[in-house]
């Protein structure tokens, strides 16, 4: 415990990451400049702050997803976990008559439970993450439909809207929550031993195990955290749309993974950063928003985003090789 000796040479690692994030930042700036020339409604505080409302749920899930993918895993069940947690929120409030704060706690615990089951299957039963979370993607979605019977809970009191529609000063409430968690996740990954363990496991799990890293516990914690975040996202989502639906957030996992990968995190594990993920998400969100504002049709927007994704990955590759 004398010196901090991560398994990777830190100098090389940090340098590569910095360049990747630099590239993403430049891409983001170019996109902002181009879009603000195309539409005068784009680069306004109002529009940009409003976008943070729409991206918060995705961003909350992208934080633990970044850590999981860096650690060599993946969590496909996040969208379903979100829906299941949201349904539990509505169910425990409307049908069981729990007070709303308790129902929110149920929602968070449901997410945590979903994540813990994933973590247990992956870390201790050793089911490959792709298969385990593909299975729970279906199972949790099934729970959502089974528990809700395809009915939605609605009629939440006005003050409940604070978390999804309210403001703290000029900022949307959920954006403030998100910023706090981004900072926390960034510090966790880049400044703590736990963060270095995640990189080490993603780089070489066997080596990590032999160097005394509690691989199982780290993995379990990551998936449990991911579930907890899905619970939190479910709460904010419910507050934003004022209803809980079993089909909420279908396919959201793809948006989340796209942001993480665009953010420069290697899908094979071992490298990546929270800042990169947030840049990736900002690029996707602003591109979609800006193109719609300039009058590009929704389906064309998807193609542009796909192209940008490929270009960004290619540029990243070039930078990495140099």
């Amino acid at each position: 415990m004398t010196a901090r000796t991560p398994t990777l040479s830190p100098a090389r690692h940090v340098r590569v990451l910095r360049t990747q994030e630099g590239v993403l930042f430049i891409i983001l700036l170019v996109i902002i400049v181009v879009l603000s020339l195309l539409s005068d409604r784009f680069l306004t505080a109002n529009n940009l702050l409003n976008q943070t409302r729409l991206l918060t749920e995705t961003a909350l899930l992208a934080l633990p997803m970044t850590l999981i993918i860096i650690g060599g895993g993946i969590d496909l069940s996040v969208g379903s976990t979100l829906a299941w947690s949201a349904v539990m929120l509505g169910f425990s409030w409307q049908l069981l008559g729990l007070p709303l704060p308790l129902a929110v706690l149920v929602c968070l615990l449901t997410g945590l439970l979903g994540g813990a089951v994933n973590g247990y299957l992956i870390a201790y039963v050793r089911v490959p993450p792709l298969i385990a979370t593909l299975a729970t993607l279906a199972i949790y979605r099934g729970f959502s439909f089974g528990i809700s019977q395809a009915r939605s809970a609605r009629g939440f009191p006005e003050e409940f809207a604070f978390w999804g529609q309210g403001q703290i000063g000029p900022f949307p409430t959920q954006f403030v929550v998100l910023v706090v968690l981004i900072v926390a996740a960034h510090l966790l990954l880049s400044r703590t031993g736990f963060g270095r363990w995640v990189y080490a496991i993603g780089n070489n799990e066997v080596a990590a195990r032999y160097s005394g890293i509690p691989v199982e516990r780290v993995k379990f914690t990551l998936y449990a955290l991911s579930g907890l975040m899905a619970g939190l996202a479910a709460f904010i989502f419910t507050s934003r749309v004022t209803t809980t639906r079993a089909d909420a957030a279908t396919g959201l996992e793809l948006d989340v993974i796209a942001a993480v990968v665009l953010g420069g995190t290697s899908i094979f594990g071992g490298s990546g950063s929270v800042v990169g993920t947030m840049l990736g998400l900002a690029i996707i969100t602003l591109l979609r928003n800006g193109l719609l504002l300039t009058g590009v049709k929704g389906d064309a927007t998807f193609m542009v985003i796909g192209v940008v994704l490929i270009i960004a990955v290619l540029i990243n590759d070039l930078v990495r090789k140099r």
């Binding site: 529009n47 966790l188 270095r196 955290l225 749309v241 396919g251 504002l293 049709k297 929704g298």
Partner: protein, 367 residues
Amino acid sequence: MKRNPLNRSFVVLALSSLVIAACAAPPPAAQQPAAPAQPAAPAESQLPAGWKAGIPKNAPDRKGKKLVIRDVPKLIGIGYFAATTKGMEQAAAELGNIDFKTDAPTEAKIEKQIEFIDNFITQGVDVILFAANDPVAIAPVLKKALDQGILVIGYDADAQEDARQFFVNQATFEAIGAALIEDMVSQTGPDAEVAIVTSSLTAPNQNRWIEEMKKYAAAKYPNLKFVVTLPSEEDQQLAFKATQDIMKTYPNVKGVFGLSSVAFPGAADAVKQAGKCGQIAVVGLSTPNQMRPFVKEGCVKSVVLWNPIDLGYAAVYAARAVADGELKPGATTLKAGRLGELQVRGSEILLGPPFIFTKDNIDKFDF
């Protein structure tokens, strides 16, 4: 080489307690939600008593001016909403001075639909037309549009009443019930035994239709006898089997109602395979594409539904009339071009009697 486990646990603990503190705490009472629930009443006009529909705030005078209309259906890329868009484009072209466009997600997802509407609000359009994926979830963003003076009109699938100004109702339960009975009686005569294949016994729409059918029949055709109502649970095979059971158990049955897009073809198929086309009438609600083969063979004479082209057409006429101040709270009619005068009931514009698809017109529709 062991790292300090305390360090790690602390961070995890700190993170999770942060999360819990951030969301479990009850929101402070002083904080105001973004969108006030009650829109301010307009200064100039009196609202009819009990008016619950939304009112745009400080809407500019748009009478006779160019309108930017954006249509956000549940999704795009399916025949049904392509048809509503077609009707809207026809109306926009007839009226002139309208910049019209449809854009929506490619899947019927409420989250994405909200995002489209939100972006149109930022764009500062004049009118938003919508068909809601969820009546409650769409309400906050529609109220936001109203708050910014944008006119909001629904069609096909409504939102909470206070989140939009008017809604074009494609078919009332009464009208559908009456049309189904008339259609049946025209084939079986007024003294027949009939049976119903519904979706599930708890389906709210189907139950309302059945109620209206029975009410209408009791008043006009008292000798029409309903022998049984069987569920098909959105399963065409079950509908098929239910119809076989009906034919076995009630040999005198002269007509079968199929009350969903699955029950109708299932029932028609059972009658066809029993070789009873022409002896047992099959009447119901479904889409032209579902029923086309049966209609062409003649085993099904007609399909009751509404015309989505007319639905879209009426929605744009409603938008123009609201912008011009002609369609306002308390109005009882709407002049809608080739559709003539449509009845307005409260904040709902009625498209009128259902549309009957037959052998002669079914090929004009693709949904």
